[in-house]
């Protein structure tokens, strides 16, 4: 190639600089857009993740399984002892199960006598954990159920035993669960025997601390912590964990859910608690569609079974 007096290289450098500058400005504009209109940007992000990640299902499953298998091999030697222990525990559990069943029947009878209605709408959708947040600074998981399955923001996610987190961000096929351990997670709870209300504040540690306790003296390590239902976000009475005192003498909660292996999560459908916003509605209710007219349906103790069983576990 013959070189001219003014070679293209002389122009290439400033043009390049300009283009790179434009690129950086574009990226910063994206950042600013996110900062200004965060909900919309997060929706776009959820949409993108929703499009991309389920396509990589075939990667996630085998790799995750093989990692778990490797871990399983490490603990292979301990399996025999564990097995024996489990057998003994199973024996004890049988006795407990018997007791629980009797209590449950008794409970159902009493509820029936009292005509108590224990949130019959509390049904659940079960999802499989597809991916986690990927960052050591954020604690969330992605479920393979989404708006398609009727999920909405704010619903509670539990594993078999305790509360795990809250839905935050719903795509068509996926939904993100912010775990209780995430630094932005705040859940109103009540500590059981004393009835003290507090806020469970995630701080990126395995045992999140209790904040805004009125009388910490009334609380002893080992007390049960359940959701209080304040603020209308989560249903009341979901088991969260038990109180423990950390080395810094702060009251923390040992979570009941098994955070070591979050595999299947149950998302509770809670159809927003009714809030009275303006007084006019009280005077003249405007029924949008009269779905049912007539007496209240009979209480359904079947639905409360799960809740009762969980309560007797802890």
């Amino acid at each position: 190639m013959a070189k001219k007096a003014a070679s293209p290289e002389d122009f290439a450098r400033p043009v390049r600089r300009l283009l790179v500058g434009l690129l950086v400005v574009l990226l910063l504009a994206i950042f600013l857009f996110w900062r200004i209109d965060s909900p919309r940007a997060e929706r776009i992000r959820a949409e993108i993740i929703d499009r991309v990640l389920p396509g990589f299902d075939w990667v996630f499953l085998p790799v995750t399984k093989s990692v778990e298998m490797l871990r399983g091999f490490q603990s292979y030697t301990a399996l025999y002892e564990q097995n024996n222990e489990l057998r003994q525990e199973l024996q004890k559990m049988r006795a407990w199960k018997e007791a629980a069943l009797q209590l449950e029947q008794q409970n159902a009878r009493l509820l029936d006598l009292n005509q108590v209605r224990l949130d019959p709408k509390l049904t659940h959708v079960t999802g499989v954990v597809l991916a986690d947040s990927g960052s050591p600074f954020r604690q969330s998981v992605l479920l393979n159920v989404g708006a398609r399955d009727g999920l909405r923001d704010g619903w509670a996610a539990m594993d078999g035993i305790g509360l795990v987190g809250r839905i935050s961000g719903v795509g068509a096929r996926t939904a993100r669960v912010i775990l209780l351990t995430d630094a932005s997670s705040r859940v109103p709870v009540v500590v059981q025997p004393s009835g003290q209300r507090a806020l469970l504040t995630g701080d990126n540690s395995i045992a999140p601390p209790l904040d805004f306790l009125e009388k910490p003296d009334l609380i002893r390590p080992g007390d049960r912590v359940v959701t209080s239902g304040d603020g209308g976000m989560l249903p009341a009475g979901l088991l969260v964990g038990s109180v423990a005192q950390g080395p810094d003498r702060r009251l923390r909660v040992i979570l009941a859910a098994d955070y070591e292996r979050l595999e299947f999560l149950r998302v509770l459908r809670s159809h927003g608690l009714e809030t009275i916003a303006d007084p006019g509605r009280l005077v003249a209710p405007a029924p949008p569609s009269a779905s049912f007219v007539g007496p209240m349906p009979a209480p359904r103790p079947v639905v409360t079974e799960g809740g009762a069983a969980e309560a007797s576990d802890g």
């Binding site: 950042f31 990589f56 991916a131 986690d132 050591p136 600074f137 979050l262």
Partner: protein, 179 residues
């Protein structure tokens, strides 16, 4: 007939995208959902800086921006901020590639470490200016230190496995210019 030098460049761009996608997917695997463990190195940053330092022609700024923006999106970071910073850092290294080519590896390592620390501080500053919640300083510093420590490893691996080496004396780029 494709020019072998050009083909090599495009091969390496494809490799970069594939490795980045692999790293992101690997971190998304739901194998550890317990919090509180020490954060590992930011391998994608190491890879990007190492490649830009060694072979600036493999990684155009647009590719770096696209890959890191995708990482931003998937890692739930504020989108665009870290991508912009990384592009700036990469361009800083690229504009000095001719000067720093002769440096010993130790000096290169120091240079990269300085760039990483500056990027980290700039990111924190941007968070503070925008009133965004910050990650705990100790945690974040641990990640930067881990990245700095991981850098030689990434350089070695990309040299041995991916064939990314500094251009030799007489080598020319795709357009026939000398480095």
């Amino acid at each position: 007939m494709v020019d072998p030098a050009l083909r090599e460049i495009w091969q390496h761009r494809a490799i970069y995208v594939a490795v980045a996608a692999g790293l992101i997917l690997l971190r998304l695997l739901p194998v550890n959902t317990t919090p509180g463990r020490l954060p590992g190195p930011d391998l994608l940053l190491c890879l990007t800086l190492a490649w830009v330092q060694r072979r600036p022609d493999y990684l155009p700024a647009g590719l770096v921006a696209a890959v890191i923006l995708a990482e931003d999106l998937f890692m739930l970071r504020p989108p665009g901020l870290w991508a912009a910073l990384t592009v700036l850092g990469a361009e800083f290294l690229r504009s000095r590639a001719a000067l720093t080519r002769e440096l010993s590896f130790l000096m290169e390592w120091l240079l990269i470490a300085a760039v990483m620390v500056v990027l980290f501080l700039a990111g924190r500053l941007a968070h503070a200016v925008m009133f965004l919640p910050q990650i705990g300083f100790g945690y974040a510093t641990a990640q930067v230190l881990a990245s700095i420590l991981a850098y030689p490893l990434v350089v070695g691996l990309s040299r041995v496995a991916l064939g990314v080496h500094k251009p030799g004396m007489g080598e020319v780029d795709a357009r026939g210019r000398r480095f």
